[in-house]
């Protein structure tokens, strides 16, 4: 046993493809892993919001205004429309449509930039500053967490767009585009419960 082990060749993997897509691809799983981490972070931040809400006599506390609905509504509508684009780009990536993913990712980048405008106004119309009280702190926490994801996603889209327009696109890059679209969907989906918490929970109680 102390010499190199004898082997017996029983098969060959040389004919296997050099790439795959979706859950068959390695990077898809890594992407899911980081979504689970960030999703857990969002869920715990939401739990913190609910915890503080149950401890408070009034929500929002006396003196704090309710958060404005206009800019958050525009942001949410724009985000939902952007998801349609993300789904379209995802399908183009699966179809290995090089021009489709180039222009689609560019449009996603533009959506990312456009989303920052109503998001900026949202901060201005929250009706409370982060240092006013615990309500303000947790509302800002949720919004900052989500904005961080918008900015990260925007950065990823911009870099990906630059690459896609300057290089030949291979199987792995189509997979990268798929993963980026999946992450965009994650950013959209995480917003919906946060939006409900920030804007509608205080109005519902």
């Amino acid at each position: 046993m102390n010499s190199p082990r004898e082997i017996e060749i029983v098969g060959n993997v040389a004919d296997l493809p050099t790439s795959a897509s979706g859950p068959r691809h390695l990077v898809w799983w890594g992407n899911i892993g980081f979504m689970v981490i960030e999703g857990t972070g969002f869920a715990l931040a939401a739990a913190a919001y609910l915890y503080l809400m149950t401890q408070a006599a009034a929500w929002p506390p006396k003196g704090d205004q309710l958060p404005g609905l206009l800019w958050s509504g525009i942001f949410t509508a724009l985000l939902l429309v952007s998801e349609v684009v993300a789904i379209w780009v995802l399908r183009r990536a699966r179809a290995h449509d090089a021009n489709g993913v180039r222009w689609g990712t560019l449009v996603m980048s533009l959506f990312g930039l456009a989303l920052l405008v109503p998001r900026g106004f949202e901060f201005a119309h929250l009706g409370v500053s982060w240092h006013q009280d615990a309500y303000g702190s947790v509302v800002w926490l949720l919004l900052v967490l989500h904005t961080t994801h918008i900015v990260t996603e925007l950065g990823e889209c911009l870099v990906q767009t630059a690459w896609l327009f300057t290089h030949r696109i291979g199987d792995d890059q189509f997979c990268d585009v798929e993963d980026n679209c999946n992450y965009w969907t994650f950013v959209v989906l995480t917003w919906l419960p946060i939006y409900t918490l920030i804007y509608w929970a205080p109005r519902a109680i």
């Binding site: 046993m1 082990r5 017996e8 029983v10 795959a20 892993g33």
Partner: protein, 630 residues
């Protein structure tokens, strides 16, 4: 047939690192990175042990004034933070990083650069905490840093900020490592290694990694809330402004309790591997042990409130968490019985690794029994913040995780170095460490029952605590001396140990099928697996598959459940970007303590680093010319 020399040479050219310092910085070899992790963590274990000895020295006589209360606070804070955040969790991840690809017969981890990034970021956390200690800004509020004591009003200066940022460093590193381990186990198993045939060690690492992914966001969130309370005047934990300090405890222990099992579960993987090998018998109840690990992993998330019985939560909650805490003893007990049954059924060899397992059984059972005691809310209220708790968690963590880790170190040392450790000195070290540990910590149960509180820098004479403290101190000294013998044995054996050959213990799992130390590409061919103990069942020839590229780095990706080959994946080569990215993150984390400008500047730096990291490599494009629909 034996592996082909030509192929061997080509693999060596493909997988070797660049020479010198550049190679040191850019390597993505999971074994080199894991070895750095392990050595760093062991060095910190030594430093934290010295702090413990210093505190024991202080408590050896009543009314001792050798240490000031402030220095004592700093010592136990640094000891606890180092042990729990910089030693226990990272060293288990590092063991996974070293062993998982070898045990899968894979050539590297799923995300080699992420592994390197994880280490460099961990090192950033280590340096943050210990350089702060050298600069006399050591955190001084325990390893948990509860507000309001850690808040801006009661803890001015930067001690608590250092602690909070150190946590963020190490947790990001841990999360990266965990995703890497999880995906490697799920997607890079060799053909035939279905989930049912996975060795218990791999199951343990998979469950611990998933637990890390689900629990560590809690500590990152809560330390971010703490530092924002301190630096930008938020009010998460300020009762005067609607905040709540109990929120901190909930989030902290939502991580803190699973953390115990994130440390313990990998140890069950070590125990399973070592008991099987040294009993010369297939693991009894493989499925039962795996299901127990999964149960422990799930239950661990339902127990965090048992750390908060003294907070004054609703009675119903206390009852529920008492029951849940006691319930975890069932799967833990099942595992113990399976290991005993394996030894009972086999022909056990009492080499040093196996002796560590016997030490583990005895110590961990004592820790488990005191755990059942503290799980009871009524008893817990009496014992909280006494030395009984100190004794309990050291029995669980040292007996339950560190002893198996020492055994694992001895077990896989020949694989890593190609040399055997001295059995004689190994047994001397074991006797001193285990004997000294029990002499040191068992009396603390009695001290706790006699009412001695923890985290006090001294105590009055005449309380009946003097002799027990002296015995505890003597035990600690013996244990540390044993630790020095252990380290000396490891260092001397590295040069003078007898050559081990590839499989000195006649192990059953795939890592023993390659050379000692393993080459950078781990295995020349892809093993094919037909059972949970492939090296025992496929004697004398190991079935393998060929066809992976030798002229560039390539790994085989398989399906999650039945491990069927799917495609050949191009694996990342050496890169400087993980180092640069970790440096950029470090600049942001540390500088943000002192200026808000660190956030935008750091974000930009991180953006540049990540762009460099993820910019697809030329030559990877495989379909269609630019602009043409493929």
């Amino acid at each position: 047939m034996t592996p082909d020399q030509g192929q061997h040479d080509q693999l060596a050219a493909t997988w070797r690192d660049p020479p010198g310092l550049w190679g040191f910085l850019v390597t993505v070899d999971h074994k080199r990175i894991a070895a750095r992790y392990i050595v760093t963590a062991l060095l910190l274990l030594f430093l934290a042990g010295m702090l413990a000895l210093d505190m024991r020295w202080q408590l050896s006589v009543p009314e001792n004034t050798r240490m000031s209360p402030q220095l004592y606070n700093e010592s136990f804070s640094l000891h606890g933070s180092t042990m729990l955040f910089l030693v226990s969790v990272p060293i288990m991840e590092a063991m996974a990083m070293w062993l998982v690809p070898l045990m899968l017969g894979a050539r590297n981890m799923a995300f080699p650069r992420l592994g390197a990034f994880s280490f460099w970021l961990y090192l950033g956390g280590v340096l943050t905490l210990w350089i702060a200690h050298a600069m006399d800004i050591t955190p001084d509020l325990g390893w948990f840093e509860y507000p309001p004591l850690a808040g801006p009003n009661y803890s001015p200066g930067h001690r608590a900020d250092i602690w909070a940022q150190m946590i963020t460093f190490t947790e990001v590193a841990a999360l990266c490592a965990s995703v890497n381990v999880t995906v490697t186990i799920l997607k890079m198993r060799p053909p035939g290694m279905t989930l049912a045939r996975m060795p218990v060690f791999l199951w343990a690492m998979l469950i611990a990694s998933i637990m890390t992914i689900l629990s560590m966001p809690a500590i990152m969130l809560v330390t971010s809330m703490l530092i924002s309370d301190r630096l930008v005047s938020t009010h998460f934990f300020s009762a005067a402004a609607g905040g709540d300090v109990v929120l901190f405890q909930h989030l902290f222990w939502f991580f803190g309790h699973p953390e115990v099992y994130i440390i313990f579960i990998p140890a069950t993987g070590f125990v399973s591997a070592i008991v099987e090998t040294f009993s010369r018998h297939r693991l009894f109840g493989h499925s039962v042990i795996v299901l127990s690990i999964i149960s422990i992993g799930a239950l661990a998330f339902g127990l965090w409130v048992h750390h908060m019985f003294a907070v004054g939560l609703p009675r119903l909650g206390n009852d529920f968490y008492t029951a849940a805490s006691m319930a975890i003893a069932l799967p833990a007990g099942l595992q113990i019985f399976c290991w005993i049954a394996t030894i009972w059924s086999g022909r056990p060899r009492l080499d040093t690794p196996m002796l560590w397992m016997l030490a583990f059984f005895a110590t961990f059972v004592i820790g488990g029994l005191s755990g059942v005691m503290t799980a009871s809310a009524a008893l817990n209220l009496q014992l909280t913040d006494t030395y009984f708790i100190v004794a309990h968690f050291h029995y669980v963590l040292v007996g339950g995780a560190l002893f198996p880790l020492f055994g694992a170190f001895c077990y896989w040392y020949p694989k890593a170095t190609g040399r055997l450790m001295s059995e004689r000195w190994g047994k001397v070290a074991l006797a001193a460490i285990v004997g000294g540990f029990n002499l040191g910590f068992f009396p603390m149960h009695l001290l706790g029952l006699l009412g001695m509180p923890r985290r006090v820098y001294t105590y009055p004479a005449g309380m009946g605590w003097d002799l027990l403290n002296q015995i505890a101190t003597a035990g600690s000294v013996i244990s540390v001396l044993g630790g020095l013998v252990f380290v000396a044995n490891a260092i001397i054996s590295y040069w003078r140990g007898a050559p081990s050959g590839p499989d000195p213990w006649q192990g059953s799992t795939l890592e023993w099928a390659t050379g000692s130390p393993p080459p950078p590409w781990n295995m020349d061919y892809i093993p094919v697996v037909h059972s949970a103990a492939p090296l025992w069942d496929d004697e004398p020839r190991l079935p393998v598959m060929q066809g992976l590229a030798n002229d560039h780095r390539e790994v085989l990706i398989t399906s999650v459940t039945d491990s069927a080959p799917i495609y050949r994946h191009k694996s990342s080569g050496p890169s400087i970007w993980p180092v640069i990215a970790a440096l950029a993150v470090s600049v942001m984390f540390i500088a943000s303590i002192f200026t808000a400008w660190a956030v935008p500047i750091g974000t930009a730096l991180i953006g540049v680093a990540l762009t460099g990291w993820f910019w697809p490599q030329r030559g990877r494009a495989t379909t269609g010319p630019l602009g043409v629909r493929s």
